[in-house]
């Protein structure tokens, strides 16, 4: 654990709280998972993150129909919950605490690249098992979208998709993305991608949650169906 007496301890651990211990012996059948389709699209004026709202048990049962799978973790950044709900929730709380601590200490927010690096370090260092979030945000350098994989891989892209509906949603965005597109156009494209995944992926569905991130902040809205979202 990070030791405040010795500030040079592990660079890969949170300063507040602990990384979860080993996952061994967890009852996989009863772990609530998101299944999920989460989409992040970067435009010149901001970032759109869209997710579905379904949580499932053992891949057979819809255990929740109104999950909010995107959370603000920084004044101008948000992250998606993908994989084990418990792991993802604690991951988000940890990152939010670290981002707040950094900002209050240094009087400036973490850059999105630093935030994604920190997320990758935590994912790699501690078994937040099977999480695969998207980090999206805006900083001095502009808009950024990163995917973070369970082994700590951190990759930036113009747009990225994670979760069980990845194949379907990516197909919807592929060829339609344009770096010049407006935030509104990116929003529509993200909704279409989540909708397509909801139609074909059993782990995704029950509406859409949208996060609109600009240099002003993060706005998150939930919609029961895809038409009203548009």
């Amino acid at each position: 654990m990070y030791d405040p007496e010795n500030r040079l301890t592990d660079a890969y651990e949170p300063e507040v709280g602990n990384l979860p211990n080993e996952d061994g012996g967890r009852d996989e059948e009863n772990v609530v998972k998101t299944g999920t389709t989460t989409v992040g699209i970067s435009t010149e004026n901001g970032v759109i993150i869209a997710t579905d709202r379904r949580a499932s048990l053992g891949g057979r049962f819809v255990s929740n129909k109104q999950v909010q799978k995107v959370e603000q973790i920084h004044p101008t950044a948000a992250m998606t919950l993908v994989g084990s709900v418990g792991g993802a929730q604690s991951f988000i709380r940890s990152l939010r605490a670290e981002a707040d601590l950094y900002e209050v200490r240094r009087d400036e927010p973490l850059s999105i690249h630093a935030l994604a690096t920190l997320a990758g370090n935590f994912a790699r260092g501690g078994p937040y098992f099977a999480i695969n979030p998207i980090v999206g945000g805006v900083d001095e350098d502009g808009s950024h979208v990163y995917s973070v994989d369970p082994a700590g891989g951190v990759l930036e892209d113009d747009y990225t998709v994670t979760g069980s509906g990845t194949m379907v949603a990516t197909g919807t965005i592929e060829g339609q993305y344009d770096p010049e597109m407006s935030l509104g156009e990116a929003r529509d494209l993200a909704i279409r991608a989540v909708n397509a995944a909801a139609e074909r992926d059993t782990g995704s569905g029950n509406g859409v949650v949208l996060a609109e991130i600009t240099d002003e902040g993060v706005e998150i809205d939930a919609f029961d169906d895809y038409e009203t979202a548009e």
Binding site: R7, L8, R106, T117
Partner: protein, 244 residues
């Protein structure tokens, strides 16, 4: 001679005197004054740190007298006081600079590095069985494209400066800097001011082997030490050299 009453309060570092003073910390400040001076000058184009490192014998290898240290490619430190104590703090700063890169994949800011050092120093003013650091540091570097210059003292307080001196003859050099400093200097003018400031308290003049200078340029963001020849050239140009 001091009376027994006062002595009691300078035995333990963690003991306040009745009038609220920590004598050990004040003694540590005296240790800084016994060291040769270091000077820092912040200009629009970068930061200059310079240190007086004159040798006590011509037989010593000059390079073994280290008063200016690279912390990371964009940050340097000059020290005054106990060199051995300085080395400990410099290693803290070097490791912390790398921790920042590992953790955030970004260079550490000069301010946060300074505060890591001063927080470390402060622990030694509050922990029993240890003594405070008998050294002051100048932490100079580039942060978000801006030049920054900080001082750390034995109490663990960070200060930011436009131009500052630490170590022996500090007051005199500081007065010199206050008279001569101008905000719109370029880096070369900063080097000149730093050398003149060190020379202002050296009656015999400076000699290139007895001065250490480093710059951190805003453009390159790189810590660079001046070669002895370059220092000698400037000393001659500014007529600051000794008779050798």
């Amino acid at each position: 001679m001091q009376g027994n009453e006062q002595q009691a309060y300078d035995r333990g570092i963690t003991i306040f005197s009745p009038d609220g003073r920590l004598y050990q910390v004040e003694y540590a400040r005296e240790a800084v004054k016994r060291g040769t001076a270091s000077v820092g000058v912040r200009t629009e184009d970068g930061v200059v740190i310079a240190a007086d490192r004159h040798a006590r014998s011509p037989l010593i290898e000059r390079d073994s007298i280290e008063k200016i240290h690279e912390i990371d490619s964009h940050v340097g430190v000059a020290s005054a006081g106990h060199v051995a104590d300085a080395r400990q703090l410099i290693d803290v700063a070097r490791r912390q600079a790398q921790v920042n890169r590992l953790r955030y994949d970004e260079p550490a800011s000069v301010e946060s590095l300074t505060k890591e050092i001063t927080d470390y120093i402060q622990q030694y003013t509050q922990t029993g069985g240890a003594r405070p650091f008998g050294v002051a540091l100048l932490v100079a570097g580039i942060e978000d494209g801006e030049p920054r210059l900080f001082e750390t003292d034995p109490s663990g307080t960070p200060y930011e400066w436009q131009a500052v001196a630490i170590g022996g003859s500090r007051e005199d050099i500081q007065t010199f800097l206050e008279d001569e400093y101008a905000e719109e200097m370029d880096l070369e003018a900063g080097i000149e001011l730093a050398l003149r400031a060190l020379a202002s308290v050296n009656e015999d003049g400076l000699d290139a082997t007895g001065v250490d200078i480093a710059t951190i340029d805003v453009e390159s963001e790189q810590f660079e030490k001046l070669a002895e020849d370059d220092i000698a050239e400037r000393l001659e140009e500014f007529e600051l050299g000794g008779e050798n």
